[in-house]
């Protein structure tokens, strides 16, 4: 865990308003757990947290949507320039538990799940992806390249089913009542995944986003509430997460 300057070796534009920077990261790449993130200097006062989207040999990827000043700044970086990152940071997803496993990704929550699929080629994976529209439904071909056939949906029906990815998950549980879930996406999606998996009595790990200061647990900016009556009022996304076992945040019962 340290701050390093990594050289950009490739710049991809996988979809409108999305950029994937591939950087040379010998020392880092081997040690990364899917779900961990990098804290990336992006021209402003604060760094920007970005998940690792893939590892290819000594290279790693960061795939992001351009939403504001920081991601716009990063999107302008060229091959040969360096990016200043801290990492690897945080707690990633555990290895696949026995039985069927669904990767449930929403929008820019998809990249860490692709890295997961890449890391665990022999797991019994189903992939369920959702996004607001066609252009935001990223990495579908990457998953197909691994021989997986992701279930797809969009809010506006412009690709895959119309609806939420949690709808796909509900259906999936009908066929895989013994399944587990690794999910990443916006908070409302994660709440619903928590509800569904708790209702099914099945384990789930959830990857959260929160606005960050330090990225290393020092500033207490990035908190999400712990389960009522649980050990702690707040958990830090940067060090306690970003991936949490459902129970940590939602308790043992059905949320």
């Amino acid at each position: 865990m340290r701050a390093v300057r990594l050289t950009i070796v490739e710049r991809r534009a996988p979809a409108p308003e999305h950029v994937e920077l591939m950087v040379d990261a010998k020392d880092l790449a081997g040690r990364l757990v899917p779900g961990q993130f990098l804290h990336v200097a992006a021209g402003g006062t604060l760094r920007r947290p970005l998940s690792v989207s893939r590892v290819e040999g000594a290279r790693l990827g960061m795939l992001f949507r351009v939403v504001g000043a920081g991601t716009a700044w990063l999107a302008e970086r060229d091959v040969g320039e360096t990016v200043d990152v801290m990492g690897p940071l945080g707690q990633g997803y555990p290895p696949p538990p026995p039985g069927p496993l669904a990767l449930v990704g929403g929008g820019v929550g998809i990249p860490p799940l692709f890295f997961y699929a890449q890391r665990w080629p022999d797991a019994a994976l189903s992939v369920l992806l959702g996004a607001r529209d066609h252009d935001s439904l990223i990495m579908v071909d990457d998953f197909r390249g691994l021989g997986l056939r992701p279930g797809l949906c969009t809010d506006d029906g412009s690709r895959g089913k119309r609806g939420r990815v949690t709808g796909l998950l509900r259906d999936w549980f009908l066929e895989h009542p013994d399944g587990s879930v690794m999910a990443c996406g916006p908070a409302p999606m994660l709440h619903e995944v928590a509800r569904l998996t708790a209702a099914a009595g099945r384990p789930a790990w959830l990857g959260f986003e929160q606005r960050m200061g330090c990225g290393v647990g020092a500033c207490l900016a990035c908190v999400v509430p712990g389960a009522p009556g649980g050990d702690r009022v707040w958990y830090r996304v940067c060090t306690d997460g970003p991936v949490f076992a459902r129970e940590t945040l939602y308790g043992e019962g059905r949320p």
Binding site: A3, T45, R211, G213, C214, C219, C222
Partner: protein, 318 residues
């Protein structure tokens, strides 16, 4: 070889190897940044505010970036003084770095109890009394804006601390000199300035204040001119050493504070962008001192003060 500038800094009776400390709340309780920063090189560490009981803090989002600045609304989340002593102090003590414990409370009594409890512990160089946090008993009035209340709280801590007491000033008041004077007469050994400016950002999408806590504290380079002004005034008018902060990113920024009258400086927000910000400032300080003609930190302290002219004689503000 040119002689190496002497970086030794003195804050009252406390001697620091260099004038750069970590600012409270931005460096946790020490271990968080240890793989990014050479801890032993720091001039000192001011840890996150500690209260008599655990405080939960505010709902997220707790930070929001602004032009050259950062709004935060952590809400002084902390584990309470007992947990601090049990879980964090041993690590900090072992570092061998000058340790300043930031103290918070809702009432004079709460401040006193934290101070009393810490008095039984070794390895703490000074307490830093944070009097810019809300005083709930007094209906939201802040200790840091009322010289009489400031006097009470500082006296309570000084009576019990058994070590030097620094008082951290709020810039959100027109009475900063009165509050500083109250702290002095209550026995403070030094003042630290500035805490954050109260600010707010609106989340245009959500149509509400961006921070979960509504308003928050503004820090970072944006506030540096306010910090320099407060340090300049306070160091000239109150007979106490001042630890300056607010927006320091480089050795030049640190030197600006020293010349304005600070005996030492703290770095906060800059660490988030560059975890090695403090050691960079330390590394670059000798050159910066030399460039502007100073042989030591001590020489630079207050170098921008007029000789013999007081602020009263200065022209209107603008």
């Amino acid at each position: 070889m040119t002689p190496v500038a002497d970086l030794t800094a003195r804050v009252g009776e406390i001697v620091l190897p260099n004038p750069v400390l970590a600012a409270s709340g931005t460096f946790g309780f020490g271990p968080e940044y240890q793989s990014f920063v050479e801890m032993s090189r720091l001039g000192g560490i001011a840890v996150k505010g500690v209260a008599v009981e655990p405080w939960p803090g505010n709902p997220p989002p707790r930070v929001w970036e602004t032009p050259s600045g950062l709004l935060n609304s952590i809400g002084l989340q902390n584990p309470g003084v007992e947990a601090f002593i049990r879980d964090d102090l041993p690590f900090l003590r072992a570092l061998g770095v000058v340790l300043v414990v930031n103290v918070i409370g809702h009432t004079v009594d709460e401040y006193r109890r934290v101070s009393e409890r810490l008095a039984r512990e070794s390895g703490i160089a000074a307490l830093e009394v944070n009097i810019s946090c809300p005083n709930i008993k007094e209906g939201g009035m802040q200790f840091g804006h009322d010289p009489e209340r400031a006097f009470e709280v500082v006296r309570a801590v000084v009576e019990t601390a058994g070590r030097p007491v620094w008082v951290k000033l709020s810039p959100n008041t027109d009475r900063v000199l009165e509050v500083g004077e109250a702290a002095r007469s209550a026995g403070a050994a030094a003042l630290s300035a500035i805490n954050t400016l109260v600010g707010m950002a609106i989340d245009l999408d959500l149509r509400r204040p961006a921070l979960g806590g509504g308003s928050g504290g503004l820090s970072g380079p944006a506030i540096r001119p306010v910090g320099v002004r407060v340090v300049y005034e306070v160091s000239r008018r109150i007979g106490l050493p001042v630890v300056g902060m607010g927006g320091i990113e480089t050795a030049r920024d640190a030197l600006e504070y020293l010349m304005a009258g600070a005996s030492a400086v703290m770095v906060g927000t800059a660490t988030f962008g560059r975890p090695d910000a403090m050691t960079r400032v330390i590394d670059e300080l000798p050159d910066a001192l030399r460039q502007y003609g100073f042989a030591s930190v001590a020489e630079a302290v207050g170098a921008a003060h007029p000789r013999g002219r007081t602020l009263e004689g200065a022209p209107d503000e603008y």
